[in-house]
């Protein structure tokens, strides 16, 4: 168990450092193994956006937190690709430039992991291969509005 954990940890830590720098367009991040008082191993996350000091996660802005978390998720998917992954508005706090960087990284991961993303962001929608529109009727029932197949242009 500890063997397996250490191998995976090492690979994810390396992937996280690389993905963080890609998504932030610079900066540094690290994963550290820490021991708590009872000797159980835990994982610490250090994040340093470009131009800033290494600081506690609590000082990160709303968007920086979301981007750091997405970098970790993508790093785990790079090492242990899950067959599919559903993301519900993970881009809500991101500015335009960061939405585009996340979308591009998503596209790079999409050959090993199938993604279903709920979003309100135009840039994320543009990166999708297929689109489903959901609507709520006056009767309180959700229905699928339309399906844009890959070949069609958006209306």
């Amino acid at each position: 168990m500890a063997e397996e954990f250490n191998r995976t940890f090492g690979e994810v830590a390396a992937a996280f450092e690389a993905t963080f720098t890609t998504l932030f367009g610079g900066g540094k991040a690290k994963l550290l193994q820490v021991q708590d008082d009872d000797g159980a191993t835990g994982v610490d996350i250090l994040a340093q956006p470009p131009g800033k000091r290494l600081q506690s996660l609590a000082l990160l802005s709303g968007g920086e937190r979301a981007l750091t978390a997405v970098a970790l998720l993508f790093a785990i998917l790079k090492v242990n690709p899950s067959p599919f992954c559903i993301l519900d508005e993970v881009d809500a706090a991101l500015d335009e430039a960061n939405v585009v960087r996340v979308r591009d990284e998503l596209k790079a991961l999409a050959d090993r992991t199938q993604f279903v993303v709920v979003t309100h962001n135009r840039a994320t929608i543009e990166g999708a291969d297929t689109l489903y529109g959901i609507t709520m009727g006056d009767d309180g029932v959700s229905r699928v509005l339309s399906l844009r197949l890959p070949a069609e242009a958006p209306a």
Binding site: M1, E4, F5, T8, V12, V34, D36, A40, T41, G42, V43, I45, L57, R65, A66, T68, A69, V70, L72, L73, I76, L77, N80, S82, P83, F84, C85, I86, L87, D88, E89, V90, L106, A110, Q114, F115, V116, V117, V118, T119, H120, T124, I125, G127, D129, T130, L131, Y132, G133, I134, T135, M136, D138, D139, G140, V141, S142, R143, V144, L145
Partner: protein, 162 residues
């Protein structure tokens, strides 16, 4: 393995039978506030065996069954089926396509099926263990939850074997 189809009937706001066909690559789901997008993500989590109703914004089984509206009567059952492609044989079952179905009744009873055959929750969890539960569905507003966890709580993310 990949996601091929999702069918909902009576799950939360999906009162009428609704089918989603998923292609490889990226599928985006869009729509106005309150239209039912997060309900779809929750349907997937529920079908995979989720037992915590709090993580589905409810308190008990009944909360996932269509509760009716001004124009429609409540339903008595919620059913979600998730079809996975198993050509690669990654999932521990001898089928090239696996459909996991979960049904719930107002009595609180939950039933699980794999390819139409009644099974126990334990069987479903055994099949889906290799999907990486911890990060298969990231709920709305929860993307940065991992940053708020204590260090020892994050171990689970790394223990999922390839």
């Amino acid at each position: 393995t990949r996601l091929k189809r999702l069918e909902l009937h009576g799950f939360k706001s999906f009162a009428t039978p609704t089918t989603f066909v998923f292609d490889p690559g990226i599928t985006a789901i869009i729509g106005p506030n309150g239209s039912g997008k997060s309900n779809i993500a929750e349907a997937v989590r529920w079908a995979l065996g989720e037992q915590s109703y709090a993580s589905l914004r409810g308190r008990r089984t009944e909360d996932v069954i269509f509760a009716g509206s001004a124009a429609r009567a409540p339903l008595g059952m919620a059913e979600v089926s998730l079809t996975l492609d198993n050509e690669s044989g990654d999932l521990p079952l001898p089928f090239s396509e696996i459909t996991i179905t979960r049904r719930a009744y107002r009595s609180g009873e939950n039933q699980y099926f794999i390819n139409g055959a009644r099974v126990r929750l334990k069987d479903v969890l055994q099949v889906t263990a290799s999907l990486g539960q911890a990060y298969t569905v990231i709920g709305q507003g929860l993307v940065d939850a991992v940053l708020s966890q204590r260090p020892e709580e994050r171990r689970g993310l790394f223990e999922h074997a390839a």
